[in-house]
Symmetry: C2
């Protein structure tokens, strides 16, 4: 079993390789991100990061998230309400189901849908750069 630490180390290395400096604040944020099982927003990430390093400011959280997104380390989502929410980039793309009652977010992946999207785009002369599929749902029964 891989410890979160390993993941963080790998990420910081990837950042350094990309010419990005790894500061105390960025390490804290990376730790928070890798340990997050949910999809926190910037304010929540700030709250959690301050628990590790009290000097992390909200501005730095935003700036760092922008960098991490550019480096391909995190993904930014904008669900229907509220601000952007973030998660560590998964090598395998996935989509989201949002529980309208609890707000809980579940991930899923379906190759057939992915393929159909490609076909539809191609038919209209387009190549997909990225996409969003979100199902806003309610529990059955």
């Amino acid at each position: 079993m891989k410890k979160p630490h390993d993941k963080t180390t790998r990420m910081t290395q990837a950042l350094r390789d990309g010419g990005v400096r790894v500061t105390r604040q960025r390490e804290a944020l990376l730790k928070v991100l890798t340990e997050a099982a949910d999809h926190p927003d910037a304010a929540e990430l700030h709250r959690r990061a301050k628990g590790i390093d009290d000097t992390v400011s909200l501005a730095t959280v935003y700036r760092t998230l922008t960098v991490l997104e550019r480096e391909g380390v995190v993904h930014r989502h904008s669900f229907e309400s509220g601000g952007a929410r973030f998660e560590v980039a998964d090598p395998v793309h996935h989509d989201h189901i949002v529980d309208l009652d609890t707000g809980q977010i579940t991930e899923f992946r379906n190759d057939k849908i992915e393929e159909l999207q490609r076909l539809i785009a191609a038919e209209m002369g387009y190549e997909i750069v990225h996409h969003r599929l979100e199902l806003y749902c309610r529990k059955l029964g």
Copy 2:
């Protein structure tokens, strides 16, 4: 061929039936919405509505859009960047392709994808209330 006017008349009637008052400002906004071929944001709708009735304020545009959305007359979309964008509710659901270079939005619909979504949600014990599928694309070669 139906004139936009007919559509607007039908919409105002639907609103009145729903106990919503149809004011001068709301009529202007409805006209702008039915005539829009694109997916304007609130500021753009405001600009266009003022062309019909100079008294329409931005606050009213926002308030009216909220009412129209609640009444099921318009749909609100939040694409990746910028504020919300609106369109008259289409009786048949459709998804969107966003051209990353031009910002142009194209609509499409695919029953197979719709069905797959339903199946995926059901498998996880969910019923879809609504969904979003957006393909961010670039023109092919």
